[in-house]
Symmetry: D3
Subunit: 136 residues, 6 copies
């Protein structure tokens, strides 16, 4: 069993808030992340898969194939977008890094597990000080 | 003469567009950066000042003082904000990294030059691949 | 179950030595890290907690709360200090990165586990080439 | 139980290809990584060991000893070399990062497990976007 | 006048040697960089241009245009290649980072100066410890 | 004319203070950097030289020679040391990054200018947020 990690990046706007709450309550819980006019991040996404090495190629999985799935299922929908308004798989969700990581897992799990490997971890790095890991 | 650089960071949303132009024209020029619902970045700001060393302290300028100016004049106004909507010193400007760098220079130049040093460079790093330097 | 990691930083002096040993013996075991007049590092501390997402907030735990615990229990006691002389929770211990990681775990475990999450890992990065992880 | 990670680096040339395959087939599977005249990388190698802390020293294992093993068994054979042509422990293998990680594990496992610790992970970082982890 | 820097990356094999010299002499001057079977690097290329801001766009130059020139004139010819054998603009030259930087300057200068800006600096980062800057 | 930069690193303890001043006055000016029991940093040192390329070698200067000077004249005296107590070329000086940069310039200038090049810049990076550049 071996683990392969691919990094992709996306730059997006978002806002943390609950529409049922007042602006004051949102600010109390989410602080400046609740700014009504949005803010944004250079997100880094690390997708880790695990599997056996294919002796024909020396690969667990061809990086081109893995990267294509992540780009088509995630990056194209999320890069240079507003996570609250533009992204189908985030609709109705609070756009915390936690929820982003889980939603990305759900977007790619099926396609990745069709390959000769298994999705192991989705890591979302929001800033140089904060990151989230989800293992399914 | 010695040069001192202080890094500060801000996370902001923005959009590149000209309101006189159609969405098509904006997309043609600015690409996905013109997304109407905004996107965002973890910006890094490097402020470089130059001056003589104060023999009393060994400092060109006390970092606490420099950092205080940059935080009060720039970071507090720009961090977790929308550069197009929320920031007084970007009003009416295209929020390119070029214009951000020049506007930050104008915000801090007077206060820094009151210290025993001179503003030398404002560097804005938008992504790991793109950055701007302005020397006044 | 989801994992959240917060990075904090501290700059500290230390020395690796055993007072029962001669200088020669200390140098033999600890090399230049045993320099009697101390040396120092920019340490990076990564605290990882795990838990379920709170559906109200989208958070495992509010980063402000987590960061406050780490700052009050660790960073304020350790930043710009001498790890051998100034830090109560390192008294009588060899200030190896291993012992620092364990001591930090002990400092924060109780407060973190009072939150809706569990302490998972304390990682101490001493240089770009050396780091320690402790999982309790 | 505590985990210690040491980073070492090596700069090497390699080529991904199967000699039984035509150039076209190699290009189809390995893309530009199959360039007959080689290409290369600044590889980063992270070796993680786990064990109990020695109360005499505060160390799981002396970094000098760990580093010496990794340098003698791996770095000296692999740094500024051609992974396909010059490295005994890669002979006859496809020089994918997966196979490099496993081969490095096999090179150092015995010597490391003679110490008061156990080899836990070999991580090979090929580019800022791609890495491999092997846990034996 | 404002300065814009674009980073691109390329992974290449090379060897430092003079064919008129013996292997011994080459090793004496170039050390392990003269390994006859090549070694390689993840090079980073930083291209800096300078110019006035176009008030229509807020740009000195459109990054897409700059990036296209650098990719077509340099990266496509040099990425996943052997700098000594595969790259027309390095033919007959010692493939030191110094010569790479100058050759890249010569490849892109004409196309960049046709834009509304001027080539200012080509920086080649060979390893985390070594880099070259050329200003024409 | 081409510029070559070499990075070296040193880990050191230091304290900012003036012995003529009271502890209160030192704390007022230098803040927590005046801690009597020292603190420390992982310093990065970037030495930049400039010169013409030697057509025999493709080098401005052989990196091994440059690195040897920096290591012998600076790193061996400063790494794993106390900058205030152990380092001859810092004796009697406030150990600010400004003064460290100038002192390092003075230590290496003569030896470097004996080579076929000229010392251009000494850059000292104290933390990820603070750095100093000195050009003589």
């Amino acid at each position: 069993m071996i683990y392969l990690t691919r990094r992709e990046r996306f730059n997006a706007a978002h806002r943390l808030f609950k529409k049922e709450w007042s602006d004051e309550k949102n600010f109390e819980v989410f602080g400046k992340c609740s700014n009504p006019n949005w803010h944004g991040h250079n997100y880094q996404l690390f997708v880790t898969i695990k599997g056996e090495i294919n002796p024909e190629t020396g690969f667990v999985v061809n990086l081109k194939v893995l990267s294509k799935i992540v780009r088509e299922k995630v990056i194209e929908k999320i890069d240079h977008k507003n996570l609250n308004l533009d992204v189908d798989f985030m609709k109705g969700k609070i756009t915390s890094a936690e929820n982003i990581a889980i939603a990305i897992w759900q977007e790619i799990e099926e396609d990745i597990n069709k390959l000769s490997c298994e999705l192991h971890c989705v890591k979302v790095v929001e800033t140089e000080n904060n990151s989230i890991e989800y293992y399914g």
